[in-house]
């Protein structure tokens, strides 16, 4: 087992355990903190794939901005964790069962797919994840969606303010 495989397995196990803790935690603030750990593990995966730009953007946008927004909203609401409504045990069991069967079905499907056999992912090499090629593609082929996304942000901002004020 080389270094890359060890890192892959460690980051995957860390991400999965943290994702399960997001569900298991009773306190919503703990859930947010565990979710931030999941995002850091996914950023580690991006670095393993040499997608450096996405790794940094993932940390700044997701772990930085979005999760802080979640934390602010939770602290604004002051939700007591002991008053949090729980679903019935039967509903929970059915939810876990259907999620697990979804996972099993898709894993069985992927295992049989002939097109994916023997395909390798290029790790820690290749330059397409760096800022220079990404910026070139973003501002030549994808400049129209990039500009439209600014309109999307403006409308989201206006919508959030209008919904948020009394």
């Amino acid at each position: 087992m080389n270094k890359l495989e060890i890192l892959f397995y460690a980051l995957s196990a860390f991400a999965i355990v943290s994702a399960i803790m997001v569900l298991v935690s009773k306190n919503p603030i703990h859930s947010v903190l565990w979710l931030i750990l999941v995002f850091f593990a996914i950023s580690g995966h991006y670095i393993l794939l040499n997608a450096q730009f996405l790794a940094i953007v993932n940390i700044i946008v997701y772990a930085g901005a979005i999760m802080v927004l979640f934390l602010f909203v939770i602290m604004l609401m002051n939700v007591k964790s002991d008053q949090e409504p729980q679903k019935k045990l039967l509903i929970k069991f059915i939810g876990v069962l259907s999620g697990g069967s979804f996972l099993t079905l898709l894993i069985a499907l992927v295992k049989q797919t002939a097109q994916l056999q023997g395909k390798q992912v290029l790790m820690k090499e290749g330059s397409i994840g760096l800022i220079h090629p990404l910026g070139k593609a973003l501002f030549s082929d994808y400049v129209l969606p990039f500009e439209i996304s600014s309109v999307l942000f403006l409308s989201a901002m206006v919508g959030a303010v209008i919904i948020g004020k009394k």
Partner: protein, 111 residues
């Protein structure tokens, strides 16, 4: 690293998100599980992009095949940020009206 390992890992994260949406009643946690699913899909897109780029690099050095997937991931992050700002505003408004973030209270929307 074989592509199957990445697919299995991302499927596991996605299914954990699905289970969270199905089993929790706190609207904020449900929303966080949606974010988890989005991130699993993002990681899978990047893994596929590196798979195609690795195959293209062997045929043609310096190829940038597969860069579109990384641009897609960037746009998914943009849309997710906009979605979170509006969604959290809706949750705050719902908390103001019902003093709870229980998603079962949302059926009051119909009258």
């Amino acid at each position: 690293m074989p592509i199957q390992y990445y697919i299995f890992f991302c499927l596991t994260l996605f299914s954990i998100g699905v289970i969270g949406v199905l089993t929790r009643r706190n609207a904020i946690i449900v929303f966080m599980c949606v974010e988890l699913m989005l991130n699993a899909v993002n990681l899978l897109l990047v893994a596929f992009s590196k798979m195609y780029n690795g195959a293209a690099l062997q045929a043609l050095p310096g190829s940038t095949a597969g860069i579109d997937a990384q641009i897609f991931v960037f746009f998914i992050m943009v849309v997710a940020a906009a979605e979170v700002s509006v969604g959290l505003a809706i949750i705050v408004m719902m908390y103001r009206n019902t003093h709870s973030v229980d998603i079962n209270f949302l059926n009051r929307l119909k009258n």
